[in-house]
Amino acid sequence: MRGRNVRVKATTLAVVMAGAAASATGAQAQGFEGGRNAYGMPGLIDMPSATSFDDADLSISYSRFQVESRTALSFQITPRLTGSFRYSYIGAGLTYDRSFALQYRFLDEGRYTPALAIGLNDMVGTSLYAGEYLVATKTVGPSLRFSAGIGWGRLGSYNGFTNPLGAISGAFETRPPRSAGRGGEFEVNQWFRGDAAFFGGVEWQATDRLRLVAEYSSDAYTRTAGQTFDRATPFNFGLSWQATPRWTLDARYMYGSEIGFQATFALNPKERPHFGNNYDPAPPPVRVRGQEALAVLDVPLETALARDLRAQGILLNGVQLEGTAATVDIVNATYALDAQAVGRTARVMSRLLPDTVDRFTVILSRGGMSVSQIVLNRATLETQEFALDGTAAALSSAAIGDRTQGLPAVDDRYPNGGFALLPYVRPSYFDPDNPVRADAGVAVTGSAEVMPGLRLSGRVERKIVGNLDESTRRSDSVLPRVRSEANLYDREGETAITELTAAWYLRPAPELFARVTVGYLERMFAGASTEVLWKPEGTPFALGAEVNYVRQRDFNQLFGLRDYDVVTGHVSGYLELPNDFHLQLDAGRYLAGDYGATLSLDREFANGWRVGAFATLTDVPFSDFGEGSFDKGIRLDIPMDWIGNRSSRTKNSLVLRPIVRDGGARLDVAGRLYEEVRGASDRGLTEGWGRFWQ
């Protein structure tokens, strides 16, 4: 079942991308889904294979055998590159461990040739799992797949032999010991060194849903075999059952002595879950001129526009009629993609504006400042509404440009605000004493727009249940403790003001945006934050600068402040790369007063999903930083409307750091300019234009 569905989708997508990167998709042999091993990576049971998941596949898997458990978050970064972040418990009181893995499939399977992949496991962690491999996978017939490989490090630990790479250099024959004990450093001089060993296995796709797997493992489990379990044989056997398109369950007999199991939940940001259909009510159709009967105005135009736009979830800032041109200034309060708001606004305009108007201009405002304008030809809207390629036609006839000045506000627009009462969950990960803790409670949020560009925001959280206060670990940081005392904030801030700010947004010049935010900026810091952003039209890059003066807040997160203060700020470069990738480089001074830079690489999807990784290096020596050596992590942005049944601009951001220390820590101020404005910029609008007629 699953296989068939996926093939249909793959074909459909192939039509879309006809000609574009067809070779890069690197389609795998038909009939097989990429299996997942106990590390959440493409593989057999404990061993890897030269397969990949569907592009952008994002999964979380939990595997366990005997006392060892692994929870892995894996992502198909590109059609060939798979990455995984893993949190493991390695039994009998040995340790919790966090590690990263990467695999690159550099050769597609051919008719007679196997797919080939190279992989690095645990290349920056404490290296308990450190291993490298080269693996080949070949499908034979409709339901058999064989994999064989050579491994080094941990994958060369059973039945190993002298490293054949020794033929290149004798240095390959010895694997040097790890040089650092804190983890977090790339131990490049270990890679592909020392003894090597062969591994391999076979998979039989017995039915659409059931796969049987047998493998020969080259992992000797040197640290744990004989202590936590008996590694009686190198052979593992498993059943993998595709319970639903998203859930896979595995049962295994491991190393001749242990039963193992695994559960995997996989999704794809490019595909909506079945419960995540977007049931936005259909927009009003275009009124073609000549149908005056449909354009009966029972109230003044301004009132009617505000009313009909509000029905679409769009706020009217201002309206202006000049001869044959009409301009509206709006706030998209509802749609994840601004193009959808623009399309609906244009249709509402067509229904209400006199037939003499032939040009519609829509100004998109954000945070009270105008960002861009879209000029639409009314005749094009009329002729292209149902044209087969009306989406592209509407885009090519639209003039999208920068707009620094909004329209005078309509009556009753300011002041404007509201409150909301929301449940919240605040999780904490990877505390060595308890890998997952969480608090849950209610949050009251309020915001008020006092005048164009000036917004007051506040948020108060009240914990109801949770165990974050159980963390009693004391920070051992030798740096100013800007983040490592988070547990004190959790414990003492059961009722906390997590934000209380005034933010002013303005457009000092074309292509320039500015922000000043003052107040209680985040849970741990209060002060003033200033930012400017230069975002040139039509280019994939932007440049920003931020300077903040902040003081650390009291642990109870009420109004008091502590003694520590710092001037922190960054110069930031943003670059949109091809194939949905986005690069950001921030260089400057961090909260602990350290100087350095953060590099972030994300894969972004037009629907708002983002999956990425970041790393920060500063002048804090690894030894002063403490465990992990430097700050790094992965982040996910999940758009709410992807799982909901109505459009929403809300996103949930999840940042996973193996460990949070004080070096390389940035201020967490809301409403940074780049993310605020990019969706409404020319490139953002073009990217999301598919929803113009939605």
Binding site: V8, L13, V15, V16, K270, R272, F275, G276, N277, Y279, D280, P281, A282, P283, P284, P285, V286, V288, Q291, L337, E382, E385, F386, L388, D389, T391, A392, L422, Y424, V425, R426, P427, Y429, F430, D431, P432, R437, A443, S471, S475, S484, A486, N487, A606, N607, G633, I638, M640, W642, G644, N645, T650, N652, S653, L654, V655, R657, V660, G688, G690
Partner: protein
């Protein structure tokens, strides 16, 4: 030591799941109730639409006319647009239809070539427009007695069979004299399934 993020969506997600688990209403019962209406008493043009796979049925009123395309809206936000009876857009239903070319079908119904190509546009969850091309064959007419919004009607039945690299689609049209489509069973997308559309007899047009 720890990393955290506030995730208020967990509770919302539960709500969504619960909503999705509610028992589907009995479409046949709903349809029966709808077709009992006296359409002659209707004050505005109406169509009856039944989403076969999605399991819903309702009445839609005319919301706009653009050339040959009539747009219909239900009270709960479902939108259908028909180009002289051929489905060209479906909105407000979750997975929908962005655009379709009606001209080849209309030409065939009017006596033109019975073999032709049709094209559809759908939107992916990632806001990309997907093009679907198929080769189609129209067969008919056959004299049929069909249920038209609760009344028996003598109509001409046509079958449009389409197939392409990404799948296939079957549409049925029933026309009255003058080849006007008054009932149809049309493909929206693989995911959304089919929609059966009736133009009730007696309702204003």
């Amino acid at each position: 030591m720890m990393s955290r993020a506030v995730i208020p969506f967990a509770l919302s997600a539960v709500t969504v799941l619960l909503a999705a688990c509610q028992a589907a209403p009995d479409v046949a019962t709903q349809r029966a109730a709808l077709v009992r209406a006296d359409f002659a008493a209707a004050t505005q043009p109406l169509i009856l639409a039944e989403f076969t796979e999605m399991g819903s049925v309702g009445l839609l009123g005319k919301g706009g006319v653009n050339g040959g395309v009539e747009s219909w809206r239900s009270a709960n936000g479902v939108g259908l647009s028909l180009d002289r009876g051929v489905l060209v857009r479906v909105e407000g239903t979750g997975p929908g239809l962005l655009a379709a070319d009606a001209a080849p079908t209309l030409a065939a119904l009017a006596g033109g070539a019975r073999d032709y190509r049709r094209s559809w546009r759908h939107l992916t969850p990632d806001a990309q427009v997907v093009k679907t091309d198929m080769s189609c064959t129209l067969s008919g007419p056959s004299a049929e007695v069909v249920d038209l919004a609760g009344r028996q009607a003598h109509l001409s039945g046509w079958t449009e069979t389409c197939s392409g690299p990404s799948g296939q689609a079957t549409n049925r049209y029933w026309t009255e004299a003058g080849n006007r489509i008054v009932k149809s069973d049309q493909w929206i997308s693989d995911r959304a399934g089919q929609v059966v559309i009736d133009v009730p007899m007696g309702a204003p047009r």
